[in-house]
């Protein structure tokens, strides 16, 4: 449909990239290629996770089956959950965002292309680490959430858990850096005229989602490193046998885990908000409500984590408050569903495959949402927790919700990404097979759960109807598998013989449709003028869209973001690091207030010596600040000198830290001795690591300066490193006050 394309459409360039071999892809820094690699990698993991699901369903096809041993079953459900969440859904959404967001904001590329590539390769690295566990003595088998103490040493002796933690650490780092990239792109690289109030809803959801990622993933990372320290260095932070708290793991994990499920669904909401209006021929109803309710969901998602812990005995007050907040979170979600329905109302609906997946999403996600709300009635939760009712709920929201939205997005954006249309007839087969298979598999599991069938158990007794219902569910899973096969065939066929797509096959309105399919490497030859939320529609209807006169349009151009992108990125990174330290600090405080037998801070620490160390570190911040002042005055030599002084002072701090640790270890105060030791060394250790990395960065600056760089009055690189260094110092001030002053005085 070319009536919405720009006048004087330019033909697609002959080749989007100079070379197209394997190496070009592996070394690519182009956000589109990286986005496609995300999608391809996650599709591979999707197939792996799907095979694991089929293995489980086959084992459960009849009572007392012996297809999988109990150990194998435990490994399969752990790997299925971990794969689907960390290696499929999250990275698929991030990959889609990586591809789309720069296009939707009219940018040439994402903010930090090299970091973008790093994010992707960390995903691959993490996935390989996780799956390497099969070759190293057995996959992890403690569930995707690895509850303590099952995940701790005496109960999980193989290295599976270690690979689980390491793999997730790697993917977690990749997710955080990808979100920093996306946030900075959205805030700082928008085309002129694209005010933040005019963002396409997919981009808005990605923005809000990125904030959630930056708050939640560091919590996971901190928990994972603590678990690794427990397992590999014999600490007992989560091990009750050594005075630790297993419930603390649950608090930490679900403080990550609940925002995580919203991280997995918000971009899906964004996809739905893009696709439904286009195929209903109407603008989204209540843009502000959809956008504001997203912010509300993100906020509330941080306040509901203990609803995963109703059965751990937290007490009436906790249960009541978390039940309340969990019920509240249904409201903004419901607002969205109603807005999408209102968008459909009175529209001229085109039943393309993408639209059908959206319509199915509305129904399936609502079902999943309703069963979710049923859990907020705590007594109901007590009955159905850890049964197949939960499995059904979670798959309705994650598969019927997110996965259906991803398929909708796939059918919607495949033409843009590849330049070829997918076959609508095959698409309808994929849709109906998937819809039927999905519901056949999971609807009956609600009943099984209510009948009491527990989850994560390799088999079940021959109780009335249990065998029949499980058989139905397994047959459904095979239909689902068939639909995925049909889909793969459709994709391969269309890549070879699909109809050419053109710029805007659907008649859509956002900026990605204003360029060729696939877009050239630089994304846009010319970004269209923007004065509303639907740029291409406005362009085609200048009178109705109230196009302002040229001088007012010029005045309304978005001002450039007030700071360099790199600086914004560093500040966002620092915020995520603050969350990481927060969890380690909480661990320290918790075990200070609930001490176990063993040496305490007051007995073994020397605040005066640590105070001298602190003085060195604070002085290093002062020297760095002074050096940068010298730089703004043009005195390069002085700048270099003060920079060197900063490095020396930082080195002195580390040396002092090392001395203190040596002294402590000599007097048998170690990570494994007691919980003071575990939390003290973890906290100061990670801080020391940050100082070390800061020194590396400062040394790099020094070398560059000596080689003749930084000739100007200011430098973004120096600013960014300075921000990081001052942050590290600020963290130490907090740590010193807490560990050496408060913990000793109290």
């Amino acid at each position: 449909m070319s009536d919405l394309s720009l006048p004087g459409d330019l033909a697609a360039p002959a080749a989007a990239h100079d070379d197209t071999g394997w190496y070009a892809w592996i070394a690519s820094l182009d956000h589109k290629q990286i986005g496609l690699m995300y999608l391809m990698a996650t599709m591979v993991f999707f197939l792996l996770g799907g095979v694991q699901a089929l293995l489980m369903r086959t084992q459960l096809i009849r009572p007392e089956n012996t297809f999988l041993s109990p150990q194998a079953y435990n490994e399969v459900f752990t790997m299925h959950g971990t794969t689907m969440i960390f290696l499929v859904v999250m990275p698929m959404l991030i990959g889609l965002a990586t591809y789309l967001v720069p296009l939707q904001v009219g940018a040439r590329d994402i903010a930090f292309p090299r970091m973008n590539a790093m994010s992707f390769w960390f995903l691959v690295f993490g996935g390989l680490l996780l799956y390497y566990s099969y070759l190293a003595g057995g996959a992890p088998d403690a569930g995707w959430f690895s509850y303590a103490p099952l995940s701790e040493r005496p109960f999980s002796m193989t290295t599976g858990e270690d690979y689980w933690a390491l793999g997730l650490l790697a993917t977690g780092i990749g997710t955080i850096t990808a979100s920093i990239n996306l946030m900075v792109t959205i805030l700082a690289l928008r085309a002129p005229g694209l005010a933040l109030t005019r963002l396409p809803l997919f981009t808005w959801m990605v923005l809000v989602n990125s904030v959630l990622v930056l708050l939640a993933l560091p919590v996971l990372n901190a928990s994972l490193v603590t678990l690794l320290i427990d397992r590999l260095l014999n600490a007992h932070v989560f091990a009750p046998a050594g005075g630790g708290s297993a419930v603390l793991w649950q608090h930490y994990f679900w403080s990550f885990g609940h925002p995580e499920v919203y991280i997995m669904v918000l971009p899906a909401f964004g996809i739905i908000s893009e696709v439904i209006p286009v195929f209903a021929g109407k603008a989204i109803y209540g843009y502000e409500f959809v956008a504001a309710s997203t912010a509300a969901i993100a906020f509330l998602s941080l306040a509901v984590w203990a609803h995963h812990m109703f059965a751990t005995g937290l007490g009436f007050e906790w249960d009541a408050f978390f039940a309340l907040t969990s019920m509240l979170i249904a409201i903004p979600t419901g607002i969205k569903i109603l807005n999408w329905c209102a968008t459909l109302w009175g529209g001229r609906i085109r039943f393309t495959t993408a639209m059908m997946f959206c319509l199915a999403f509305l129904a399936m996600f609502t079902i999943g949402g309703i069963t979710g709300v049923s859990f907020t009635a705590v007594p109901i939760d007590w009955q159905v927790t850890d049964t197949y009712y939960v499995v059904a709920h979670m798959h309705y929201v994650l598969f019927g919700g997110t996965a259906f939205a991803l398929f909708a997005g796939f059918y919607y954006w495949f033409p843009k990404m590849t330049g070829r249309m997918l076959d609508e007839r095959w698409g309808k087969w994929v849709f109906w097979l998937m819809f039927a298979g999905f519901n056949l598999t999971f609807m009956i599991q609600h009943v099984l759960g209510l009948m009491g069938m527990p989850r994560r158990v390799f088999t079940y007794p021959d109780l009335p109807y249990w065998g029949l219902f499980n058989l139905i569910s397994t047959i459904g899973s095979y239909v689902l598998a068939l639909s995925v096969l049909v889909w793969i065939v459709d994709v391969v066929r269309s890549l070879r013989h699909g109809a050419p797509a053109g710029d805007n096959p659907w008649g859509a309105w956002s900026l990605e449709w204003a360029t060729t399919s696939p877009p050239p490497e630089h994304n846009f030859d010319r970004v269209p003028p923007i004065w509303g939320r639907r740029p291409l529609w406005d362009l085609a209807h200048p009178a109705e869209s109230h196009r302002p006169p040229w001088w007012r349009e010029l005045a309304q151009r978005t001002r450039p973001f007030p700071m360099p992108a790199a600086q914004l990125g560093m500040m966002i990174f620092i915020a995520s690091e603050a969350m990481f330290f927060l969890i380690l600090i909480i661990s320290y405080i918790y075990y200070h207030v609930n001490p176990s037998p063993g040496p305490t801070a007051a007995q073994v620490l020397h605040p005066d010596r640590a105070g001298l160390n602190t003085a060195f570190l604070i002085a290093s911040s002062v020297t760095l600040w002074w050096g940068m002042r010298e730089q703004t005055r043009g005195r390069r030599g002085s700048f270099i000198g003060w920079l060197a002084a900063t490095i020396v002072l930082g080195g002195l701090f580390l040396f002092g830290q090392g001395q203190e640790w040596w002294g402590l270890i000599q007097s048998n105060v170690t990570v494994s001795r007691d919980l003071f030791g575990a939390t003290f060394f973890t906290l100061t250790g990670f801080h020391g690591l940050h100082v070390f990395l800061g020194l590396v960065l400062l040394a790099a600056l020094l070398v560059l300066a000596l080689a003749g760089q930084f000739r100007g009055r200011t430098s973004v690189g120096v600013e960014c490193v300075a921000l990081y260094w001052h942050f590290v110092d600020a963290v130490w001030i907090v740590l010193y006050t807490m560990i050496y002053v408060w913990a000793i005085v109290k």
Partner: protein
Amino acid sequence: MTGWAALAAAWSWQPSVVIGCALAVGGYLGLTGGRVRGRGGWFLSGMVVLALALLSPLDVLGDRYLFSAHMLQHMLLVLVVPPLLILGLPASWVRLLLGHPGLRRVERVLRHPLVAWTVGMGIVVLWHWPSFYNVALADERVHVVQHLSFLAASVIFWWPVCAPLAESRMPPLGAVVYLLAAALVSSGLGIVLTVTPPGLYPAYLHPADPIGILPMLRTTWGLSPEADQQLGGLLMWVPGGLVYLTAILATLGWWWRDGERTQAGADRTPARGIRDGVLGGDLHGI
């Protein structure tokens, strides 16, 4: 008297508060000439909440008996009264005050998001340190200082979010991050108060019983010292968080409404005054 009746009758008509509120309301009505349209409603609601917080039985309940009641009172002073009062200020008054160069400099410093946030959250967190909180419970003068500092610091905190003049306010998305960070800190503090064993503030463990309602509190209401402290923490955490969420949603709503107005109406309406004041223009004739 039964417990409920004794409680309901326990209003504390402190002269300083009564006179102060009366002066404030009187001054406001006088200067606005008695015309109290939308903006005046905010201001008067704020004053009513302030008066209720400080004069109603909530005051006695919080001072003498229940940590959770005291928490509720403080939340009203920190989260409800200041934004209402600020929303009720006419833009013209503020511009008049800021005409004075000294005041303008002070306002410019205080309205910087980092300053306002640190002052606002710092005062709240600081006063919950047991040493300080217990002194305020014991000494009435310190208690007055505590309440005044809560009000002052919170006005500073809310100023860059909802001040009447556009130049005093920070960008809307920045305000969302500002409020989110505040919610996280106050939630964190609330969580600490909820999980710490009772006894942080010993005065609440065995309170004296001036109006004879302690049995009702402990048995009918079921508020042991432990439940009381937990409830206090939970109040700060959950309803407190919801206030910040409401402020975030309101900020987003203003942001989009402003954006639409600028977009659609900018051609026709005069440039001056369209973005004056959060509520769209000041009272006529002021």
